[in-house]
């Protein structure tokens, strides 16, 4: 599991549906969620993202509907049979993405590459309030 600490910077809502914006290392992360009674702007939280929910793009051009876009560097690659685990450095935080090995090969992904990470707002959740 990947964890990033952040502060709630904005909350949009429509009935019980919320889009919460977090400031994380001067970047913005967005989370789609149903009502959270205790949330408010300024709240410090630990966000969590599953490794399988992170997509990696290299030399990305164009637009994409994913709400969350983080710039990172590939630190380490562990290859399995069908899958691989890619450790990434995002502003000194280590994140892990798990993807198909085929994708790794197609992308010619290697240690040191600069990449963009994409995460859907519905795949981000609050692990705990700090």
């Amino acid at each position: 599991m990947n964890y990033l600490d952040g502060v709630v910077s904005n909350i949009e809502n429509c009935d019980s549906l919320h889009i919460v914006e977090f400031a994380v290392e001067n970047e913005h992360l967005y989370m789609m969620s149903l009502e959270i009674p205790t949330i408010h702007v300024g709240l410090h939280v630990r966000l969590a993202i599953k490794p399988l929910s992170i997509a990696i793009a290299k030399r990305f051009l164009g637009s994409i509907s994913f709400s969350n876009k983080l710039f990172a560097t590939v630190k380490q690659i562990s290859e399995g049979v069908l899958l691989c685990s890619v450790k990434l450095d995002f502003k000194t935080h280590e994140l892990e993405a798990v993807l198909r090995k085929k994708a790794l090969e197609n992308m010619h992904l290697k240690v040191g590459d600069s990449v963009v990470l994409f995460i859907k707002a519905s795949d981000v959740f609050i692990k705990e309030v700090l």
Partner: protein
């Protein structure tokens, strides 16, 4: 308004325990009383009914049921009681069971209509199914138009289908009679369907009190889909790990990463959760 403020020392399996409850209930409310076995739920019902003594006060509207000086008898309290085991008079027919409480044929007929029991009115309880017997018991409890209806796990002896049907009938009766109701229950779906307020007791004290959704929805952070389970096994597959977890009567598998797997072990009790967006629903 009903105001219960009672104390009683109980001798439970884990030693002495003080049952101390201060609870205000609005007229017409449907309150579910939840909590582990031995938390004092049934004792509280019995104290309300006057079947058991306790110190403190019970006030129902303007009437004092119990204080330092007085203690109203069971018969004078105007209580309807539904037990898990029906407790019908075996030698009386369905209609006689109802009329024994109050000689009000019109009300008895109306109640039997609402619960679809009219055709069975001359049968003896022993010839009825469990669900039918509990419906009779429910009707009987309403015959004296009680100020409070007390139900102690009324549906726990019934199968899930009959339980759902009776929940519906309890709702119909509650809507029609607006009887303030307190029901002991262990079943979250039952509490959610019937009660507008859930009070949880633990070791004789109220530890939670709120709407069914607020009390029963087990959340963890922003995750709305959350269950408690026990880890049975953790397997490494390729570069990921799969935890096999038993939840209720089911076994589920959850993919975890290496850093999570390191902190988990077999037999550990864990909370399995996901956001409300991920699960899918399909009919059986």
């Amino acid at each position: 308004m009903i105001h219960i403020d009672i104390q009683k020392m109980l001798h439970g399996s884990s030693g002495q325990m003080l049952l101390g409850v201060d609870l205000k209930i609005k007229q017409g409310d449907f309150v579910a009383l939840a909590g582990r076995s031995g938390s004092g739920k049934t004792t509280l019902l019995r104290i309300l009914a006057g079947l058991e003594s306790a110190s403190g006060e019970i006030k129902v509207g303007d009437e004092i049921w119990q204080d330092k000086l007085t203690c109203k008898s069971v018969q004078k309290r105007g209580i309807g009681f539904v037990f898990q085991d029906y407790a019908l008079f075996a030698n009386m027919s369905v209609i006689e069971n109802l009329l024994f409480v109050q000689k009000d044929k019109a009300l008895a007929k109306h109640l039997l209509e609402l619960t679809e029991l009219e055709e069975l009115q001359d049968r003896l309880p022993s010839t009825l199914s469990g669900g039918q017997q509990q419906r009779v018991s429910l009707c009987r409890a309403l015959m004296n138009r009680p100020k409070i209806l007390l139900m102690d796990e009324p549906l726990s002896a019934l199968d899930p289908f009959m339980r759902a049907k009776l929940q519906q009938e309890i709702l119909i009766l509650h809507k029609e009679f607006q009887t303030t109701t307190i029901m002991v229950s262990h079943d979250p779906s039952e509490m959610y369907r019937l009660a507008n307020r859930v009070v949880v007791l633990e070791n004789g004290k109220i530890i939670q009190d709120g709407s069914a959704k607020d009390v029963l929805l087990k959340t963890s952070g922003s995750q709305k889909f959350s269950f408690e389970g026990e880890i049975l096994d953790i397997k490494k597959i390729d570069v990921i790990y799969v935890a096999i977890i038993s939840i209720g009567q089911q076994i589920v598998e959850v993919v975890v990463s290496e850093n999570e797997a390191k902190n988990l072990h077999v037999e550990q009790i864990v909370r399995v959760g996901t956001k409300a967006f991920a699960p899918t629903i399909s009919s059986r």
